[in-house]
C-alpha cells in the first residue's frame, strides 16, 4: 500500500509541476535560474505530453467503448465491459503467462551473458577494441533484419541450425523448430537475447569500470580468493548496473513485437501469442479498437508498476 501511495504522491506532484511550469513562465514569481530551467524544459515536456501522455488518456477513453471497425455505425458505451471480457478470456491470461515466460528467460539469459561479456571486456588484452566493435553488431542491426536472419536459420527445410546440427551429428534428419510448440518461445527468446546482450554488456561494463581498484587490492592483501572478491566486491558494486539492465530489458521484452510478427505471427496455435501480439491482433485484425485500447492500457499500467517495483527493490537512485 505504501509504495502505491508514494507513487501516487509522485504522480500528483509531477502533474502539479507541469501545471506550475506553464504558469511560471508567464509570471515573474520565480528567479532567473528557475525561469531558464522551465524554458529549457518546455520543448521536451510539450513533445512528451503530446505524444506520450495524451495517447495514454485517449486509449483509456477508447477502452470504454465497444468500437469495432466492421460495425462503424454502432459504438456503444460499455463502461468496463471490455476489461471484464478480457479478464475472463483465457487467451488473455495465456498471453500474460507467455509474456512472463518470455521475459523471464530473456532477461535472465541477457543479464548472465552480459555479465560474462562485461567481465571479459574489462580485462585488458590485445584485440579488445576489435571485440568491442564487433559486440555492437547485433545491437546495431534492425529488429526486422534480425528476425529475418533467424527465421532463415531456423527454417525447417533449409536452415543453418538444421544443417549445422546434422553435420555435427547431433540429429539425423532435419527437425521442425519454430513449428514445434515446445521450442517456439525459447527460440524466439534466443533471437531476442542475441540482439540485446550487447547493450546489457555495455551497461554492465560501464558500471564495472567505475569500481575503484583499491577495493580489489585491499581484498587481495587480506587474502581473498578470486571467487570471494567476485562475490563480495564485484557483484554488490554492480547493483546499479543490474538494476538498469533489469529495468531496460524487462521493459523491452514485455513490449517486444517485431520478432513475434516476423517469426511466428503468434503461432503455431497461439504458442507464441504474447500480450504485444494480442494487442496487434485485436486492433488490426479483429478490428476491435475498444478491446485493443483496453489491452494496451492494461499493459501500460502493468509495465509501470513493474518498473517501479524493480527500481524500489534492486536499484537505488537513477
Amino acid at each position: 500500500m505504501a509504495p502505491f501511495l508514494d507513487y501516487l504522491i509522485y504522480q500528483l506532484s509531477e502533474a502539479g509541476t507541469v501545471a506550475a511550469t506553464v504558469a511560471s513562465t508567464l509570471s515573474r514569481r520565480f528567479n532567473y535560474d528557475e525561469r531558464s530551467a522551465y524554458l529549457f524544459l518546455m520543448p521536451v515536456m510539450a513533445v512528451l505530453v503530446l505524444v506520450a501522455v495524451f495517447p495514454i488518456f485517449y486509449s483509456l477513453y477508447l477502452s470504454f467503448f465497444d468500437l469495432k471497425l466492421t460495425r462503424p455505425h454502432r459504438v456503444p458505451f460499455v463502461w468496463f465491459d471490455n476489461y471484464l471480457t478480457l479478464f475472463a478470456d483465457e487467451l488473455f491470461w495465456g498471453s500474460v503467462l507467455r509474456t512472463v515466460y518470455f521475459t523471464l528467460i530473456s532477461v535472465t539469459a541477457i543479464t548472465v551473458l552480459g555479465l560474462l561479456i562485461a567481465l571479459l571486456l574489462n580485462e585488458t588484452f590485445r584485440g579488445r577494441r576489435f571485440i568491442s566493435a564487433m559486440l555492437l553488431v547485433p545491437w546495431a542491426i534492425p529488429y526486422v533484419a534480425n528476425a529475418l536472419m533467424w527465421k532463415w536459420i531456423y527454417d525447417s527445410g533449409y536452415g543453418a541450425l538444421n544443417g549445422a546440427l546434422l553435420q555435427m551429428g547431433f540429429i539425423d534428419k532435419y527437425m521442425v523448430w519454430l513449428g514445434d510448440a515446445d521450442k517456439t518461445i525459447p527460440l524466439i527468446a534466443n533471437a531476442f537475447i542475441w540482439k540485446e546482450v550487447p547493450l546489457a554488456a555495455i551497461l554492465l561494463l560501464v558500471t564495472l569500470k567505475s569500481i575503484p581498484d583499491d577495493l580489489y587490492r585491499a581484498a587481495k592483501v587480506d587474502g581473498a580468493t578470486l571467487m570471494r572478491r567476485f562475490i563480495h566486491i564485484t557483484l554488490p558494486s554492480l547493483r546499479p548496473g543490474f538494476a538498469l539492465v533489469f529495468i531496460f530489458e524487462t521493459m523491452i521484452a514485455i513490449r517486444h513485437f517485431d520478432l513475434f510478427f516476423i517469426l511466428t505471427e503468434g503461432g503455431p496455435a497461439d504458442t507464441s501469442h504474447v500480450l504485444a501480439w494480442e494487442i496487434y491482433v485485436e486492433t488490426f485484425r479483429n478490428l476491435s479498437f475498444g478491446t485493443g485500447a483496453a489491452l494496451a492500457y492494461i499493459m501500460a499500467i502493468v509495465t509501470f508498476f513493474l518498473a517501479y517495483s524493480i527500481i524500489r527493490t534492486v536499484g537505488k537512485r537513477l
Partner: protein, 443 residues
C-alpha cells in the same frame, strides 16, 4: 540583462516562425500530393501474375490516357495489409477482394457496390452464376470477377506406380492406405502434403476437407455447427490429427508450411499427394518450373464416410473503394479500370485469357471456354473432364459473414492446437463454435 531579454525573445520568435513554417510546409506538401492523386487511379492487388498486371495496366494507360498507380502485396498477408491501409485512409481506388471478406468490408463501409455502373453490369450476362452470386451481398453487387477456382486433389502418378498402386484414391481411407504403402516403400517420408499455416489460404484447405467429409461449418439457421459430430468439421480435423500422429503420413511441420512452401516442396518431388488450388496444375506440369512435370494428375476430392466428392470453391473480384465511389470522377475512372480487368479490354477478355494461359487461373466468363487457345492450354497439362466434374461439385463457403475475419483467427488457432495435440479436436471445435455464436450475437 537587456541583451539576455533580446536574445531570449529572438530565439522564441525564431522557434515560433520555424515551427509555423514547418507545419505550413508539410500541409502544402500534403495538398500538392492530393491534387496529383486526383488524376491517378490507385490500384492494390496481391502479388499474382505481377508482370501481366503491369503490362495490362500499361495498355490501359495508353488506351485511356489515365494514370494508374499499381501496388501489390503478398497474398498470405493481404487482408491484414489492406485493413491497415483502409483504416489508415491510404489512397485506394480499385482493389482485389476475396469472397470471404465481402461482408466484412461491405459492412465496414470500405467497398461500395458497383451495380450503378451499367457498363460493368452488362458483363453479368456472360459470367458464371456462382461468381456473380459470390460478389453479391444484401442484394448489391460489389465488382467484377478477377478469377475463380476450387481446391483440387493432386497426385504424382509416377510415385504411385513405383509403389505398385494401380489406381488413385477415392476415399480418405484410401488416401491413408496408399500413403502408408508409399511410406513403407521408402518413396516419400510424408506422402501427403498439407499446408496448414495460419494465412489466407488456410480456410480453403480446411473447407475442402470438411465438405468432402460431409461436414459443414454452419447450420441452416446460420449458427455454428463446427463441433457437431455428425454434421461438423470434427471428422475432417480428426483425420488430419490421425494423419500427423497416428499414421505419420503428414509432416508435423504442416502448421508451419504456407501454401507456397508446400507447393514448392510438392513440385520438388517430396510428396505423392497434395491439396492444391486447381490452377497450380499449370505450374506443377510445366517442365521449366517443376521437377515432377508431366506426372501430376488431378482427381476428384476423396470422399469421407457419408461424404461426397465435394470441394470448396472461391472467387476473387475487382472492387471499388468507398473513397473512390464518393467522388464522381474517381468513380468513373475506377469503373473504367474495373471494366478493363474484369470485363473486356479492347473488345476481348484479354486479361482473363492471359491470366489463364500464364498461371492457369480459372476465369468466370463463359465464352472463354470455347476459345481454342484456352482449350489447347487446358489439355496440355490437365484433364478437362475431371475439372468440369469437380467444378460442378464445388461449394461456396458457408462461413462468409461480417465477422469472418475475427472468427478465422480463432478457428485457425484451434485447428493448429488440435494438430499439435495441445487440445483434443472436440475441445478445439467447441471453442470455435462458441466463438462463432458469440460473434454472431454481437454483430
Amino acid at each position: 540583462m537587456t541583451k539576455d531579454a533580446i536574445t531570449k525573445f529572438g530565439r522564441r520568435k525564431f522557434l515560433k516562425y520555424s515551427g509555423a513554417a514547418g507545419v505550413a510546409g508539410s500541409l502544402s506538401g500534403g495538398l500538392a500530393g492530393q491534387v496529383m492523386a486526383a488524376e491517378t487511379i490507385h490500384f492494390s492487388a496481391w502479388s499474382a501474375a505481377v508482370d501481366l498486371v503491369k503490362s495490362h495496366v500499361n495498355a490501359f494507360q495508353k488506351s485511356k490516357g489515365l494514370n494508374v498507380n499499381y501496388s501489390n502485396f503478398p497474398w498470405a498477408q493481404y487482408r491484414e495489409t489492406m485493413v491497415t491501409r483502409l483504416v489508415g485512409g491510404a489512397p485506394l481506388d480499385m482493389m482485389w477482394v476475396s469472397d470471404a471478406w465481402l461482408p466484412e468490408w461491405a459492412e465496414a463501409g470500405w467497398i461500395k457496390p458497383v451495380d450503378g455502373f451499367k457498363d460493368l453490369m452488362k458483363y453479368n450476362a456472360e459470367a458464371e452464376k456462382f461468381c456473380t452470386d459470390s460478389m453479391t451481398y444484401n442484394g448489391r453487387q460489389y465488382g467484377l470477377t478477377y478469377y475463380t477456382d476450387f481446391m483440387g486433389f493432386m497426385y504424382d502418378a509416377d510415385k504411385l506406380k513405383k509403389a505398385g498402386i494401380s489406381s488413385p484414391p477415392k476415399t480418405w481411407d484410401d488416401v491413408t492406405q496408399q500413403c502408408l504403402k508409399i511410406k513403407e516403400a521408402g518413396i516419400s517420408e510424408y506422402p501427403l502434403m498439407l499446408a496448414l499455416a495460419k494465412e489466407s489460404w488456410l480456410i480453403e484447405f480446411m473447407a475442402a476437407m470438411v465438405y468432402s467429409q460431409g461436414g459443414r461449418f454452419t447450420d441452416d439457421k446460420g449458427m455454428g455447427a463446427m463441433d457437431s459430430a455428425s454434421e461438423g468439421a470434427l471428422k475432417a480435423l480428426q483425420w488430419v490429427v490421425d494423419a500427423v500422429h497416428k499414421h505419420k503420413i503428414v509432416s508435423p511441420a504442416c502448421v508451419e508450411t504456407g501454401e507456397l512452401t508446400g507447393l514448392k516442396a510438392f513440385a520438388s518431388g517430396n510428396h505423392a499427394f497434395a491439396l492444391e488450388p486447381k490452377y497450380r496444375m499449370r505450374h506443377l506440369n510445366d517442365p521449366k518450373q517443376s521437377k515432377i512435370a508431366g506426372n501430376v494428375k488431378q482427381i476428384l476430392m476423396p470422399k469421407g464416410d457419408g461424404g461426397s466428392h465435394a470441394t470448396v470453391g472461391w472467387m476473387r473480384f475487382h472492387g471499388m473503394s468507398a473513397a473512390a465511389a464518393a467522388d464522381k470522377r474517381r468513380a468513373a475512372n475506377t469503373a473504367k479500370l474495373i471494366e478493363w480487368f474484369g470485363g473486356k479490354a479492347d473488345g476481348e477478355y484479354k486479361f482473363q485469357k492471359y491470366l489463364f494461359t500464364d498461371i492457369g487461373a480459372g476465369f468466370g466468363v463463359k465464352p472463354l471456354f470455347n476459345d481454342l487457345d484456352v482449350q489447347k492450354a487446358y489439355n496440355s497439362y490437365t484433364d478437362v473432364n475431371v475439372i468440369k466434374k469437380q467444378q460442378a461439385l464445388a461449394r461456396k463457403k458457408d462461413m462468409v459473414t461480417p465477422w469472418f475475419g475475427e472468427w478465422q483467427e480463432v478457428n485457425g488457432s484451434a485447428w493448429q492446437s488440435a494438430i499439435l495435440q495441445k487440445a483434443s479436436p472436440q475441445e478445439a471445435l467447441k471453442k470455435v463454435t462458441n466463438t462463432w455464436n458469440k460473434l454472431k450475437k454481437q454483430a
